[in-house]
């Protein structure tokens, strides 16, 4: 069978061998934990504890601030020492609950859950919502909302995004190998919500061991299939993964549900399993720590709220002084100015590099080589759009399909003139989208 993929895209050096073979290790929280109230898209959560309160591990400390929102749980036992703005990994200050860890990890009694077969769809959705699960691939969209399309009967495919196309990150890879049964459990929960849907595990073909593992685990389930997709960035982009696995294409203003698809990533499905089957809220995630400036790159299970600094220490600290530290992948992650920021629900990795490839060379004039057009998975013209964005011509930007950009960064990656194409386009896109909403 031909490999399933999409047009465009790039093949950056994947760097995955650094952390690929390191089993997931637990990270112990230190004294102070920080829980931003906005770890998701939508309304911020509302704190339901006050400074001075004592909390237990697994206790809800903030409730959903609306339908498109998610609650937050404490991952240690201790005392609330502050509710104040703190720097989050994207560099902005976000209202956060600060908890002092008492080191005892006294845990709440989790409510007993009924077996999956006895749960109604509404009960499942409520368990997912109450566990505070959001899309952990990076977007942070509340999962309960994603799983509540207008017409659930018209959902044909639940796609588990096992592509992990970002270089260096191996968190999903390790999770599939080590927690494959939980992953499949999560898929089964979601399939229970959609009677007409089939489950697809879409794995990049650079992870044959994951394909084998998943095939073995799902061999008796005819509702679930495992497919290999081509190793190419951004294969794990939602729209491109849907196209690669189902041949259905959506433009930027459409939702996957419009073509009968729902995409959830590995970590999200595992959290769904824990919430619905084990009755536990979302409290930790797997984070890859890698890059040439990290002493012993690896994969770590990190409770939310633990600082990046603690996680880097768990990986042996820095081998050399880093020039750049990234929260997330090298293609779409955020450069951080401080590592005194908490791990949140969407922190997939911490990368530290001794050399910053971006600073290496100043941007120069476009030579019209067309590499960006060739690489663009959204099939638009990045070089032209960046020019338009720099002129701030909103009308032309929309006319030239600037809003179709998925901000994957392929254009900036391939540009021989090292122009910041994605940056210009994304900034303009934000302006245009904000105007459209009004």
């Amino acid at each position: 069978m031909a490999l399933l993929t999409f047009r465009g895209g790039i093949h950056p050096k994947d760097g995955k061998s650094l952390a690929k073979d390191m089993a997931i290790a637990d990270v112990q929280p230190k004294d102070e934990l920080v829980y931003p109230l906005s770890q998701h898209i939508g309304a911020p959560a509302k704190a339901i504890v006050a400074v001075g309160d004592t909390v237990l591990k697994g206790q809800k400390i903030a409730e959903a601030g609306g339908f498109v929102s998610a609650p937050v749980y404490s991952t240690v036992s201790g005392k609330v020492t502050g509710i104040a703005p703190r720097t989050n990994p994207t560099g902005t200050k976000v209202m956060s609950i600060v908890i002092e860890n008492d080191g005892e990890y006294k845990e709440v009694e989790y409510p007993h859950v009924k077996p999956l077969s006895e749960l109604s769809k509404e009960e499942i959705l409520n368990l997912i919502a109450d566990a505070g699960i959001v899309g952990m691939g990076g977007a942070g969209f509340p999962t309960r909302v994603k799983l509540s399309p207008k017409e659930p009967d018209k959902i044909d495919f639940i796609i588990a995004n096992c592509a992990e196309c970002e270089p260096f990150i191996t968190a999903d890879y390790r999770s599939i190998l080590e927690n494959g049964d939980e992953l499949i459990g999560g898929m089964k929960v979601v399939l229970k919500l959609f009677d007409n849907a089939k489950g697809i595990f879409a794995v990049e073909d650079n992870k044959p061991d994951c394909v084998e593992k998943l095939k073995e685990l799902t061999k008796d389930d005819d509702r679930i299939s495992v497919v290999k997709v081509k190793t190419k960035y951004p294969q794990g982009g939602e729209r491109h993964l849907i196209y690669a696995t189902t041949g259905r294409a959506i433009h930027a203003a459409m939702l996957p549900a419009d073509v009968g698809c729902i995409v959830d990533n590995v970590a999200t499905l595992i959290e769904i399993y824990k919430a619905v089957v084990l009755g536990k809220p979302s409290m930790d995630r797997v984070v890859t720590v890698s890059g040439d400036a990290i002493k012993t790159p690896g994969n770590f299970r990190v409770p939310y709220g633990v600082s990046h600094e603690t996680v880097i220490e768990a990986a042996g600290g820095f081998a050399v002084e880093p020039e750049k530290i990234i929260s997330g992948g090298p293609m779409m992650g955020f450069a951080m100015f401080t590592i005194d920021t908490p791990i949140t629900k969407t922190s997939s990795s911490i990368l530290a590099f001794s050399k910053d490839a971006v600073a290496e060379k100043e941007p120069s004039a476009c030579i019209n080589c067309g590499r960006c057009v060739e690489a663009c998975p959204s099939r638009i013209m990045p070089a032209r759009l960046a020019d338009i964005a720099e002129r701030h011509d909103e009308e032309a930007f929309v006319n030239f399909d600037g809003l179709e950009c998925c901000e994957c960064g392929c254009c900036s990656y391939v540009c021989p003139a090292r122009r910041q194409l994605k940056q210009s386009i994304a900034a303009m896109r934000k302006v245009c989208l904000a105007k459209k909403k009004k």
């Binding site: 729209r239 196209y243 090298p330 293609m331």
Partner: protein, 319 residues
């Protein structure tokens, strides 16, 4: 906590190794076989001409940017490529000052006055060649080979004397012509290097050559030179006897003056193929590649406008 000096920038944080400089350097390397053959074929005067045009082009760019207090960009090797290409387009017997003048025109007038690298809408080397062709027609169309002033194969073809041509020599390049255009083998060797290093794509030169072959295959019949439709000797003579190969692989593929869209590149290749055929078969002079490419350069904005790709999800996702 310790104070760190961390770099901040928008994603992506990794970049391809390919840079403008590395691309231009590849083009220079790809032009070396043709340059070397030109020197072997025409002697030391060809070497001096190549050095003069190249040095003048780089110097012009340097001086202009210095005087205008702009960042100096000679380290991207684009001026070097322009100078070398112009040199390869000069007859080996033209005076050196003419080569120098051409380089100044290419860099100063065609490139820098329009805004520098990436902003010129005409190919600088070709524009300079045409400028010299119009200004000094005698020098630019006189071709001496082995001490004898003779007609280029294309001129022979135009006169309808197909039988006088030795297609083996034309393939090798042992014929009169400009310094770099005569050896198809040397040019194609360079072109293969560029295709393998993904500096150029076969789209533009491929469409150009195929269109041209179809055009002369059909319309050559109506000139007295070809025997019937698709006369293989006639077609070979046209492909190897003039500037087509150098033009198709090294001038038509100039990024700046070619369309950025895939479909547009096919259209652009077809335009050049038809125009070259028209000029060579029905035009006043034997050659037609330079004007065909320059006119197609001017059509690029129009071509791009009508060949804009469809975005993903709106039809553009299909392979």
């Amino acid at each position: 906590m310790s104070e760190r000096n961390l770099n901040l920038s928008s994603s992506p944080h990794v970049r391809s190794k390919v840079t403008t400089g590395s691309i231009m350097l590849c083009v220079v390397i790809a032009l070396l076989p043709a340059s070397a053959f030109g020197v072997y074929n025409f002697g030391v005067s060809a070497l001096i001409m190549l050095l003069v045009t190249t040095a003048t082009a780089v110097l012009t760019e340097y001086l202009y940017e210095k005087l205008m207090k702009k960042p100096v960009t000679i380290s991207d090797y684009s001026a070097l490529v322009t100078g070398l290409l112009l040199g390869l387009n000069m007859p080996p017997t033209a005076p050196y000052w003419m080569g120098a003048l051409g380089s100044v025109f290419a860099i100063l007038v065609v490139k820098q006055l329009f805004g520098g690298l990436g902003q010129n809408f005409l190919n600088p080397a070709l524009s300079a060649r045409c400028f010299l062709l119009i200004s000094f027609t005698g020098y630019m169309t006189r071709f001496v080979y082995d001490g004898v002033t003779g007609a280029t194969p294309l001129a022979v073809l135009k006169a309808g004397n197909l039988t006088e041509l030795n297609t083996m020599n034309m393939m090798l390049g042992k014929i009169p012509g400009t310094i770099g255009e005569t050896s198809v083998i040397a040019i194609v060797a360079g072109a293969i290097f560029l295709i393998l290093t993904e500096v150029i794509d076969i789209r533009i030169p491929g469409t150009y050559i195929v269109t041209f072959v179809i055009f002369i295959g059909i319309f050559g019949h109506f000139t007295k030179a070809a025997v019937g439709f698709f006369d293989p000797v006639y077609i070979t003579a046209h492909l190897t006897g003039g500037g087509l190969m150098l033009g198709a692989f090294f001038m038509a593929t100039d990024y700046v003056t070619a369309p950025i869209t895939k479909k547009g590149q096919y259209v652009y290749g077809i335009c050049m193929g038809i125009l070259t055929g028209l000029f060579r078969l029905f035009g006043g002079s034997a050659e037609g590649v330079s004007y065909a490419i320059l006119i197609s350069n001017m059509l690029v904005p129009l071509i791009e406008r009508v060949t804009r790709p469809k975005p993903f999800g709106k039809g553009g996702e299909k392979f």
